[in-house]
């Protein structure tokens, strides 16, 4: 305490306070910069850790896996049969599988489900094996969707699913029940099954410890490597132990494992740049989990998102390519993960639930990466304080800061500011809920596509850009008298909205680090918006630019378009890491080629898809991203817009001085 006071006295003796106050915008920029630097530092050797199994009971790959040559014929037989019936309606495919599963010895049932989007019937077949040795209270789930997330027929996955089910039934080791699920897709249908399992299903097998979604849309006999996806919605991740188990087992079987779409060529790389690429990919994937999807399904993710929120450790294991590893190797990976989970005596509780992966065997735990997001959110706190201390008023620029400035002349102006903020907040929440309500009434099909396109462009993106221009436009015909009250209202509204934004970001970063970080980075320009007299065209123009660059809907547009391009971060990494003129030329050429071929109309559908998955996120996957944007980002943006439009004719001091003179 004494030391603090000493520092405090020194600061005030050297007159540092006014200078510190003046440099607050710089400080908040530096904080944001520091948060990026923090991230870039994480992949440096010594900053991250190697993964390890902390739950001893798991014992991955300790037992010999028998899913080998003896199972080939079963696998091939099931696969061929499924292949013959690939064009059949879902009901017939299900009944065929139901017969097989019954024959094997599973208890089967079908959950009916009508997709609210398309009105299609999508019954889900599931089969339960009540392990004779277990106490029938816990289960492990194997999911083999009929179609992969890209919409391709999951021939390898379903064939393997049935043959694994047959094989599992022969083993006598199970202490947990085994449930095999065959949903039509791994998105809405699977989610519906998961919800029903935990709420209304009659046939259940106890609480689900973990789930594995298998995807292999090829009839080939060999695979190249395995892609692992694990990010759930709302920043929920499976326990690191199960990820490690899967990674270790895959390695043990002699295959490489790819996380976050690492291409084949990088699977062996363990250098700084590959780790950084994976880190950036991870942050982006966590933040947009369940929102972006290659097929026109309006998001929905890779399958493991369907289990989010039910405390199920879910993984998606997708076999890729046509390589030298036998397809039973893929089966053995799933078998070994199942046997590891089977060994568990308690639910997953060791190890980490909050982590960032830099590679299949490298991770950073929450304590080490959280400061990045804290720094980014802190830049808004500083911005809010800076606004409260009068920095954002252009007229104050040449004046010294003094503490008397903070106190409002009347208690009415802060009240007006507060009221204004809450009005904006409630308007934004009501509009957001209304928008989300649209998805309940109108399915996202070809018939209503036009409606959603209009919603995206005419209701969201274009109006918000026009609104951003308002500070510049209004400067031509909008005047207000000089008054301390107007100054105070603008100052308090600005400070208060920024503070609330900062607060929501801080509250979010505990459980959804990546979303909080990304939003605070892209909306950072809000901190630099300043207000002043309407004749000051320069400030107004700058405000417009900052507002556009921090607008949620502009970012929706950018992200939507971005999702439709085939951008690969890895190519950028390659270009930077091995920079050569030839390489650059080649990359530029490929961009040009792409631009020539691209269909603009299809590109413009990207934002529509994204908006749909955002606003339908809560009702479909309990994804809170849209709700968060509605209660924090949009009100902060709107309040900053209002503030930048107010005509503030004088500095906060001048009015005081005038009053004294009078």
């Amino acid at each position: 305490m004494a030391l603090l006071e000493y520092v405090q006295r020194k600061i005030s003796r050297f007159g540092l306070v006014p200078r510190l106050v003046k440099s607050m915008p710089k400080i908040s920029f530096l904080l944001a910069l520091a948060s990026i630097l923090w991230l870039v530092v994480l992949p440096i050797e010594g900053q991250f850790r190697n993964t390890y199994i902390s739950e001893n009971a798991l014992m991955p790959s300790q037992a010999y896996s028998f899913f080998r040559e003896s199972e080939w014929n079963f696998l091939r037989g099931y696969r061929d049969e499924i292949y013959k019936h690939r064009e059949d309606p879902l009901e017939e495919r299900n009944s065929m599988l139901q017969d097989w599963m019954r024959e094997i010895g599973y208890k089967t049932a079908i959950l009916n489900y009508t997709n609210p989007q398309t009105g299609e019937n999508r019954p889900t077949l599931y089969a339960i094996y009540h392990a004779p040795k277990g106490d029938d209270t816990e289960a492990i789930v194997l999911v083999a969707p009929w179609h992969t997330r890209e919409g391709r027929f999951n021939i390898g996955g379903t064939g393997l699913g049935v043959s694994l089910a047959k094989y599992f039934h022969r083993l006598s080791i199970w202490a947990k029940n085994i449930i095999v699920v065959f949903p039509e897709d791994g998105q809405d249908t699977l989610r519906n099954w998961v919800n029903a399992y935990h709420t209304s299903l009659d046939q259940t097998g106890g609480s689900i410890l973990s789930a594995i979604v298998m995807e292999y849309p090829s009839g080939a006999d060999g695979i190249d490597y395995i892609e692992l996806e694990y990010a759930g919605v709302n920043g929920q991740l499976p326990n690191l132990d199960i990820l490690n188990t899967a990674a270790l087992i895959t390695d043990h079987e002699g295959m490489r494992i790819s996380i976050h779409k690492t291409p084949r060529g990088q699977l062996w790389a363990t250098d700084y740049s590959s780790r950084l690429t994976t880190l950036l990919h991870a942050i982006f994937d966590y933040a947009t989990a369940g929102l972006l999807s290659p097929s026109r399904s309006g998001g929905g993710g890779s399958g493991c998102e369907a289990f989010s929120g039910w405390n199920v450790q879910a993984l998606t294991l997708r076999a890729v390519g046509d390589g030298d590893h036998d397809i039973t190797t893929y089966g053995r990976v799933v078998e070994a993960v199942f046997r590891s989970v089977n060994n568990l005596l308690e639910k997953f509780h060791q190890s980490y639930f909050f982590y960032l992966l830099l590679g299949p065997t490298f991770f950073v735990s929450i304590g080490n990466y959280l400061p990045a997001s804290v720094l980014a959110a802190a830049s808004f706190v500083v911005g809010s304080a800076s606004s409260l201390l009068g920095n954002h008023n252009v007229n104050n620029a040449h004046m010294q800061f003094s503490p008397s400035l903070i106190v409002p002349s009347t208690s009415i102006s802060p009240m007006v500011a507060l009221l204004c903020f809450f009005t904006v907040l409630s308007a934004s929440v009501l509009a957001g809920i209304r928008l989300a309500d649209v998805t309940n009434n109108f399915p996202y099909d070809d018939l209503h596509k036009e409606l959603y396109a209009q919603l995206t462009y005419r209701v969201c993106i274009i109006p918000s850009i026009v609104l951003s221009l308002w500070p510049t436009l209004s400067s031509y015909f909008f005047r207000l008298p000089k008054s301390k009250e107007i100054n105070d209202v603008a100052r308090f509204l600005n400070a208060f909205s920024l503070f609330c934004f900062a607060f929501t970001l801080i509250a979010l970063l505990v459980f959804h680090f990546s979303l909080s970080l990304l939003i605070s980075l892209v909306s950072l320009p809000l901190v630099f918006v300043r207000y002043g007299p309407s004749c000051d065209k320069n400030t107004r123009l700058r405000s417009t630019i900052f507002l556009i660059s921090s607008c949620p809907f502009v970012w929706l547009f950018v992200l939507g378009i971005f999702n439709k391009t085939d951008f690969e971060l890895d190519r950028v990494r390659n270009l930077i890491q091995y920079f050569q003129m030839n390489l650059l030329r080649k990359e530029i050429q490929s961009v040009i080629d792409w631009a020539e071929l691209v269909d603009i109309k299809q590109l413009l559908e990207g934002p529509v898809d994204l908006l749909y998955s955002l606003i339908s996120g809560y009702s479909r996957f309990q994804n809170w991203t849209w709700l968060f944007i509605v209660i924090s980002w949009i009100p902060a943006w709107l309040c900053t817009l209002i503030v930048s439009c107010i005509d503030v004719e004088c500095g906060d001091f001048e009015v005081d001085e005038e009053k004294k003179r009078r």
């Binding site: 405390n311 639930f353 607060f503 505990v510 459980f511």
Partner: protein, 420 residues
């Protein structure tokens, strides 16, 4: 402006009555949060006990659900309809606001040297105080205790020799246990006032103690009769608090220790925590009520500090206790001048911590991705802010006392006092 006060109070009643009537699920929702309810004061358990009692089962003899005193159960047995209950809580909380206004008026009348908040600001503050509103919506039974304590302070200030405060203290003790700590400042204040009025102090002290003990035994007897002639309720109502039997997460400091330590340490920790919650009562009383120059405002300040400290160190703290502490802090406007952290800053910090608490709780309980450390860490931050605020007020009080005794005008001389 004074004409505004009845108007504000009417708004206060309406606000506290209409919102829970319109949103009947609100109280249930809030009651499930550890921030609003603990096993000791949960409205849910009270309702269950009322149900049992009306079905001729005695909740004090069978089972361990209820930790409310039998008197309270008797009151709520007669308040069965939701409208009546809502009205009851709205009235209790508004009466609290009214008492706060009166207290402020009395204080500003007695202490002419300093300026206090005008009554309408206190009224408006209390009416729209989110802590008070939420506590009322959660139907926390501690609201009744808060009302008793503030009435006690009021009657103590208006007549230091009356025995009514001792009766109220006994009532409050029978409601929440911890209030008996305040017998120390009460007796000290009475004896101080007696000396100031040149009266012998020992008869007053003896009378006070007798009044307190006799009314406490009367209340215990009533409780005993109400719970069908059984002393089980003492174990249930007070024993649970003292020995911290129900270990559930709450805002306080205790629960984490008891979940982590070995069983055989728990007696030791119970003793230490109970001692800790009491240990500052005597010194604070001696410092602020002891000196011959001490005034009514000083006595009130001492009691407020003790309330703050007990809040921080009690076994089952909730927002409702915090509400008492926060509301009373409005009375010490003269101290605001010398605070290290302006009240706006400390309140903002407090509210940020309070809003983050449910988030951390959800990460632990809802998501299952966090653990107990998350919630406890946030609870620690919350308690730290509370204690910082308390020490800040004490420091400001000491400074102002120094200026007053040395007759230095703070407006004219720019002095900075420092601790050494």
């Amino acid at each position: 402006m004074p004409s505004l006060i009845p108007f504000i109070l009417i708004i206060s009643i309406l606000l506290r009555f209409i919102i829970p009537t319109l949103l009947p699920n609100l109280s249930q929702l809030l009651d499930q949060s550890p921030i609003f309810s603990t096993p000791i004061n949960s409205y849910r358990t009270l309702k269950e006990a009322v149900f049992l009692a009306t079905n001729s089962l005695n909740p004090y003899k069978q089972g361990e659900i209820i930790h409310h005193p039998p008197i309270l159960l008797e009151v709520f047995k007669h308040l069965q309809s939701p409208t009546l209950i809502n009205l009851f809580f709205a009235l209790v909380d508004t009466l609290f606001g009214l008492q706060l206004i009166k207290l402020n008026q009395q204080l500003s009348k007695k202490d002419s040297k300093h300026t206090y908040f005008p009554s309408y600001i206190i009224a408006a503050f209390y009416t729209f105080n989110p802590l008070a509103l939420l506590a009322t919506f959660a139907k926390s039974t501690y609201l009744i205790n808060n009302l008793v304590i503030i009435t006690l302070l009021n009657s103590l200030l208006s007549n230091p020799f009356s025995l009514f405060p001792y009766f109220l203290l006994a009532l409050s003790t029978s409601l929440t246990y911890y209030s008996w700590y305040f017998i120390v400042p009460l007796l000290a204040y009475s004896s101080r006032q007696a000396t100031n009025h040149h009266l012998p102090s020992s008869p007053i002290i003896v009378k006070g103690i007798i009044a307190f003990l006799s009314s406490l035994s009367l209340l215990t007897f009533i409780n005993y009769k109400l719970s069908a002639s059984s002393f089980n309720f003492i174990q249930l109502v007070y024993g649970t608090i003292v020995s911290f039997k129900k270990i559930t997460p709450n805002l306080g400091l205790w629960w984490y220790f008891f979940t982590e330590i070995f069983e055989f340490f728990s007696a030791f920790y119970t003793a230490i925590f109970n001692l800790y919650s009491f240990i500052f009562i005597v010194p604070m009383t001696m410092r602020f009520i002891g000196p011959s120059t001490s005034t009514t405002a000083d006595a009130l300040f001492a009691i407020w500090c003790e309330i703050g400290f007990v809040n921080f160190s009690r076994a089952y703290p909730t927002i409702t206790d915090l509400n008492l502490y926060f509301s009373l802090s409005m009375l010490f406007k003269p101290l605001y001048r010398k605070l290290k952290f302006p009240t706006a800053v400390s309140n903002l910090a407090m509210f940020t911590a309070l809003l983050l608490l449910p988030v951390f709780y959800y990460v632990w309980m809802g998501f299952n991705s966090g653990n107990a450390n998350f919630f406890y860490a946030m609870g620690l931050v919350h308690n730290l802010i509370q204690v910082l605020m308390l020490t800040d007020f004490i420091w400001s009080k000491l400074q102002i006392e120094y200026y007053d005794t040395h007759e230095i005008d703070i407006d004219k001389v720019n002095l900075k006092l420092t601790q050494i």
